[in-house]
Every structure is written in C-alpha cells, then in structure tokens.
Symmetry: C2
DNA sequence: TTCTTTCACAACCAATTGGTTGCATACGAC
DNA sequence: GTCGTATGCAACCAATTGGTTGTGAAAGAA
C-alpha cells in the first residue's frame, strides 16, 4: 500500500475495467451502482475498483443522500503525462544525436536530410 | 498474456524498477547485466523485468556477441499519451461546460446540473 | 576441445490481485 | 422506531506477480 503515487496511477490504469470507469466518469459523476451497470460483476467488485482509483487519487467521492458519487480528478493524469513526456523526449534527443553522429560518419557518402520530426 | 497492448504498457510501467530501466535506456542501450548493476537483485529478476517491457513492446533486443543489448522503443509511449490526453481533454471540456452552466445558473435559476447522462 | 560470460527457461515460493459472499453501516422513506 | 437502498468491510479463493535457485544454451577466449 506504500507504493509511490506514480506507480499507483499506472497500476490503476493497467486494468481495462478501471480505464473504462475513468472514461465513463469523464461524462459525469456516477455512483458505484451506476458504474457497475454495464458490467456483469458485482457492485462490490466495482467498489473495489473505485477504491483503487481513489487510492491513486484519480477519483474522489461525494455524498448525496445514500449515494456517494464518484468524481474524476483529472489533474492526476498530468503526473503520468509528465513522466512519459520526460523520457519520451530524452529518448528522442538521444536518437537525434545518434542520427547526427551517423550522418557525420557517412558525411562523404550520404548527406543527411533533416529527418528530425 | 492476452491482455491488450495498452494494459501491458500501463502494467509494465507500474513498477518503479521497470520505470527506472526505461529511464536508464533513454541514455543508451544496455545489457541485462549492466541494467542489473545498480540493484541488489539477481540478473534473472532483471531479465524478467526486461521480458515484461519486451512483451509490452517498450524494449527490443539486439545481439552483440554474447550480449543482447536492450533498446528502448519510445514510440509505444505515444499509445499511453494518446489515451491519457483523450480523457484528460474530455474531462476538461466537461468541467468547462459545467462551469458555464453554473455561471448561467447564477444568472437565472437552477436547471439540475447532474442530469447530463 | 574446454572454460567463461551472458542470458533464457523451468520450477518453486511468498505476496498481491480480482473476484466472490456475507454482514454491518449510513441515509432517507415509512 | 422499522424497512429498503447504497455502500463499505472482512473473509475467503483462484490466478497472477516478483522474487529465488538451478540448469543449460550461445558465443567468444584459452
């Protein structure tokens, strides 16, 4: 349970059902029972999924009479985007340097067209 | 093993060690032994982690004598970014609509905010 | 050839996960 | 108060995961 936030978010979204739930919540808040409707699993199972999303900070719960509607906290997604983009960019830059090196290597034979998209 | 690619990528990056390995690979290709160096786990354990990354399509292997260097396939990260951004944007738009509705609400009456389903 | 290095595969074990069911609780209706 | 709905919590089970060790294959070096 003591995993870092980023791992929790990644793990939470590794399950197709939970990604589905997140997608569903972009359309509007929903109770556990409403979320469980499309699936043929028990509401308890969905409740567990929601708890995972909640622990990851992706979902917050409200209170409306007996219902406790789930609300998507989309900002947490930025955590992942930040991580991904960081290393995506690092990899890209490395590839660019590598390409440049190769181009320099073959300078006499094949001048490199600027293929750095 | 029959999970969809997106789930595999999310699950692969849910482990801090594997995220570390990916980060390490942005600096350059590396063998399993080199990757295992900083950790106090067996090379076999690292080999398993690499296999997970490989199954997710994040890493490809080469051949250099006995060494089988790991190479980062960064394009797969775009899969995740696409998913995240899609729902991030959907959530943002919904919030904007909600805000607009609330602003309208203050100007006139109260036309039931939660009934957008 | 034999030795060493690098690594994958198989078997095994402990911990976690995703599901179940049953019971308890919170709230509104009666 | 009692009843019904929505939900959480605990216990349990099967499957998966992350680690281990042992064996063995592939590719050079001696």
């Amino acid at each position: 349970m003591a995993a870092d936030r980023l791992s929790q978010v990644f793990a939470a979204l590794a399950d197709p059902t939970r990604r589905d739930i997140v997608a569903r919540l972009t359309l509007g808040d929903a109770s556990v029972a409403e979320l469980a409707q499309p699936y043929d699993v028990s509401t308890q199972a969905v409740s567990k999924h929601v708890k995972v999303l909640q622990d990851a900070g992706l979902v917050s719960r409200g209170r409306d009479a007996q219902r406790r509607p789930c609300h998507l906290e989309a900002e947490v997604l930025d955590l992942m985007t930040a991580w991904i983009e960081r290393y995506r960019r690092a990899a890209d830059e490395r590839f660019r340097r590598l390409d440049a090196l190769l181009a320099q290597d073959q300078n006499s034979e094949r001048p490199e067209p600027g293929a750095a998209s």
